[in-house]
């Protein structure tokens, strides 16, 4: 695991998301109403919509393009839709947020 600091939890609004830019594309980092933090690829499995722009409810986000509901915990589409998006491990150390990027770690090595 290659833990990378990406900022502080207060950078993200509750029930909102921010993006982290990486060479492989954007990662969406979400903060729920009760301060759980999740990271998934910012790319809906349906038509690639930017999930970071969706409405966050519970531990799910509704994609802004066609209203697919994606679980922040598993990356899976909920309800009748089928699809999955990559989840990225997140750690909260006090206020600080870290994500783990294995691909980047191997590339750096």
């Amino acid at each position: 695991m290659n833990w990378i600091a990406i900022g502080s939890i207060s950078d993200i609004p509750r029930r909102g998301a921010r993006c982290v830019a990486t060479p492989e594309g954007k990662i969406a980092v979400f903060r729920t109403v009760d301060d759980q933090v999740y990271a998934i690829d910012d790319h809906c499995p349906h038509r690639g919509g930017p999930l970071s722009q969706g409405i966050v409810h519970g531990t799910a986000v509704t994609c802004p393009l066609h209203n697919w509901v994606i679980s922040l915990e598993t990356g899976k589409a909920l309800g009748a839709d089928e699809g999955v998006v990559r989840t990225i491990p997140v750690r909260v150390e006090g206020e600080r947020l870290f994500i783990a990027l294995e691909a980047l770690a191997s590339r750096a090595a």
Partner: protein, 816 residues
């Protein structure tokens, strides 16, 4: 030979440690205590009842002077330790007493956190930590003046309740949106705020204290938004931090607190730390249960049991304010692998939420009724499998066992004097009597005649069961389409109850209307946000996280995640300077597509989200404001050139279109609203397929509405003919306001009109001048708060987090 044990601090944790130690290893140590406070060990948790006058100091003493004498303990009262010499193994107090030790226990507790705002050191600014603070507050309260408590957590609320009980006029300032957000979810936080406010304590959330000012003493508190609150007393209760300074100076490892192992031992093997100043496994603690656990472990260690170890366990939080029942425990976050059971009883002010994982309780929030807290805590601790009692679990221990009742039989079995509607005090007999005597057949009839279920509506189910019991199968409850799967209520019912109950926040709606989810969904949240914006224009703080992305960033999201931007061109009129500015923006930001829209605007497509504020800044320089092409609100007023140019024009249709647009821009509506004004019946502005349209004629203005040219195609209905432009404006505005107040979220005007009936709308807008004026006035009032250009706000820095990535990672490595 006895060893010398020196303890720095005489709070509850070392007090408890001594009790254990005297039991486990009597006579092993010669004990000396240094207490910075000039008194014995008292129960700090009970300071709140002392402040509120419910208890006296004498009643909260744990160890009186006699206890120390009996156990041969030397207690230095009012001695603060100023140095620890680890080489010589001595401590020295500020009064010059030096005492050698074999083992040292540091229990210096915590210090209140002081926000370093200007004026924080003025006389009259207090913290809430020890008896001195409480006595100072009680003295200040004698003046019966105004107090401000900064901090809406456990301590702050207890301080506020105490000062309130002492007769002070108290305002609580809390920086977060809901009270006690660490222990409570927003629903319970809302209930708590309501209960606190009912005691006459004012609460201001999202309050950012900027300064405390006054001439030589506290006179007022100023917030960042400009609010000024007069105060003669300010209590800071924003949090505590471990008091580890003395340990740090002595070179002992300190992180947030004094770092100790599970045996409470610091990196100096002869020095222990416990209580709020200690940090175990990266955690510091402030509640008494874990501190007492530390005391037990430290005593065992000192008595020679080296296996004793501190284990973290969740501690329930309770608020010690008489009359407010509150209990919070464990982890109550949502999650896919978790289920929640929510019970809301609005009339009784009860909210209960259990969070389950793998059929085991992992978290609990109880408000209003906490008797089962201990039982839930027990089930959680023992990891009891609850699948057998799942259906009745939330009702508590006393409901377990016995078969569940058939709900219909249960209602039938109720006695006639059983209260059905708590809001209006209506009993069963009155309802069934009215149904029979007056031949009532619908729920609305029952509401009208008995008032049952006419206020909060939470007894609607019961009333309907009574109707079935009384009327038999002839009663068929009208099938109401619920708003979404979070509620059984339809849009109209929700809107009615928002007004009737004065609900002014999304958590308030969800609590009072018994939402089945804790945080709503992408369907109900935008709808509720609109209803609250519409109904409480001056009170409601727009919840941006409940808005669709387009309304959150004031641009239209496209399929590739870029945005399109449409500046407002009033009435579709533009000029060379504006067009030049648009051309410059298109060049500067390399905007790939420029398109003229059907609403007579220019659309720039393919703009990167990060560029939006800069695009708006340039457009703003040229005088452009947001065109709201993304809004469920007034979009465009399309016009033809009218009497100024056209040989057929009868009125100044362009000027009137611009006037309507300048009057109505910025207003939010249930769905988008597009308008048009045509200067003659040839109708070049295509006004007869718009939400609202005007056809100018020689004799005045013919107002049209309820057209559609999208999914459905429908010509407009004629509302009526008026003589002057002023009258036309008043009618159009009143019609829009009526739609704003009655429309369901995402329901276009033509669908709303079909539901309400064209004649009813004509009656209210054309025939009833008083109603029309009232609608008009309400619209004008709400515009005071709505007409703010969102683009210039964001150019000035509002919501800047929306437009920037949080971080960029991995690029440097990739380049290597």
């Amino acid at each position: 030979m006895t060893e010398r044990l020196v303890i720095i601090g005489n709070g509850m944790a070392p007090g408890r440690m001594l009790e254990h130690l005297l039991e486990k290893a009597p006579g092993r140590y010669q004990v000396t205590i240094f207490n910075a406070e000039p008194r014995v060990n008292y129960d700090r948790i009970m300071l709140s009842p002392v402040l509120s006058g419910e208890k006296a100091y004498e009643e909260i003493i744990i160890h009186g002077d006699g206890w120390y004498i009996k156990h041969g303990i030397t207690l230095y009262k009012g001695h603060k330790i100023v140095a620890i010499d680890r080489q010589a193994k001595t401590v020295t107090s500020d009064h010059g007493v030096t005492e050698p030790y074999d083992k040292l226990v540091i229990a210096t507790g915590s210090v209140p956190f002081i926000i370093p705002v200007p004026g924080h050191n003025l006389p009259g600014v207090l913290t809430y930590r020890d008896l001195d603070d409480v006595q100072a507050m009680m003295l200040a309260a004698q003046s019966r003046a105004k107090a401000v408590v900064i901090g809406g957590g456990l301590l702050g609320l207890e301080a506020a309740a105490g000062l309130n009980a002492q007769g002070m006029d108290v305002t609580v300032l809390h920086v977060m949106p809901t009270l006690m957000e660490r222990q409570l979810d927003p629903a319970a936080g809302y209930l708590l705020q309501r209960a606190v406010e009912q005691r006459g304590i004012k609460v201001i959330t999202k309050a950012n204290t900027q300064a405390i000012t006054g001439n030589g003493k506290v006179e007022q508190v100023e917030l960042a938004d400009g609010t000024v609150i007069p105060a003669t007393l300010v209590v800071m209760a924003v949090g505590i931090r471990p008091n580890a300074a003395i340990a740090k100076e002595a070179g002992i490892a300190v992180n947030r607190g004094i770092v100790v192992d599970a045996g409470m031992r610091s990196n100096d093997p002869d020095i222990y730390a416990l209580g709020e100043c200690a940090e175990v496994n990266g955690q510091v603690y402030g509640l008494v249960a874990p501190l007492y656990e530390m005391a037990r472990v430290a005593a065992s260690q000192l008595a020679g049991d080296e296996a004793a170890a501190f284990v973290h366990s969740d501690t329930p939080t309770k608020l010690k304010v008489t009359g407010i029942e509150l209990f919070s425990l464990g982890d109550f976050a949502d999650g896919d692998d978790r289920q929640e059971i929510v019970l809301r009883d609005a009339s009784a002010g009860v909210y209960k939420r259990l969070v389950l994982k793998d059929d085991r309780i992992i978290g609990t929030v109880l408000y209003g009724e906490t008797a089962d807290g201990a039982w839930f805590n027990d089930l959680k601790k023992k990891q009891t499998d609850i699948s057998e009692m799942r259906d009745t679990l939330i009702f508590g221990q006393s409901y377990q066992g016995g078969a569940p009742l058939d709900p219909m039989a249960a209602v039938a079995a109720l006695p006639d004097d059983a209260e059905i509607c708590g809001c209006n005090g209506v009993c069963k007999g009155k309802i069934t009597g009215a149904i029979t005597a007056k031949g009532l057949t619908s729920l609305d009839d029952v509401r009208a005649h008995t008032k049952a279920s006419a206020s909060c509506g939470s007894c609607t189910g019961l009333v309907e069961k009574l109707m079935v019991l009384t009327l038999g199968d002839t009663y068929n409850p009208a099938a109401v389409q619920p708003m979404c799967s979070c509620t059984t209520l339809g849009h109209d019912e929700v809107r009615r109850l928002i007004k009737a109950k004065g609900l002014k926040t999304i958590p308030a709606v969800m609590q009072e209307l018994e939402w089945t989810t804790s945080c709503g969904c992408a369907k109900c949240r935008p709808a509720l946000n609109y209803y609250l914006v519409c109904d409480w224009p001056n009170d409601y703080a727009d919840d941006y996280q409940s808005r669709f992305i387009n309304e959150r960033v004031h641009a239209n999201i496209q399929k590739d995640g870029t945005y399109s931007v449409v500046p407002r061109m009033w009435g579709g009129v533009t000029n060379a300077a504006e067009l030049r500015a648009i051309a410059d923006v298109v060049d500067k930001f390399e905007i790939p597509m420029v398109k003229v829209t059907g609403g007579q605007r220019i659309d720039m497509l393919g703009i990167r989200k990060e560029d939006l504020p800069a695009v708006w800044a340039d457009l703003g320089q040229a005088g452009f404001v947001s065109g709201h092409a993304y809004a469920k609100g007034l979009r465009t007023v399309k016009t033809c050139v009218g009497s100024d140019w056209c040989r057929f024009g009868t009125q100044d249709s362009t000027g009137f279109g611009v006037r309507i647009e300048k009057f109505m821009w910025g207003s939010w509506t249930p769905a988008k609203v597009k308008m048009a004004v045509s200067g003659c019946p040839r109708n070049c502005a295509e006004a007869t397929c718009k939400d609202v349209g005007v056809i100018c004629v020689d004799s005045g203005y013919e107002i049209h509405f309820a057209g559609a040219a999208g999914l459905d195609i429908k010509g407009t209905e004629v509302l009526g003919l008026v003589k002057t432009e002023d009258e036309a404006l008043e009618h159009i505005v009143a019609l829009t306001q009526m739609y704003r107040e009655q429309g369901r979220y995402l329901e276009r005007i033509y669908k709303w009109a079909k539901r309400i009936g064209i004649p009813e709308i004509k009656r209210q807008i054309m025939d009833d001048g008083e109603k029309r004026k009232a609608y008009y006035d309400r619209f004008v009032f709400s515009q005071k708060f709505a007409q703010v250009d969102p683009w210039s706000e964001r150019v000035s820095g509002k919501d800047k987090h929306e437009f920037r990535p949080m971080a960029s990672v991995g690029f440097a490595q990739a380049a290597e």
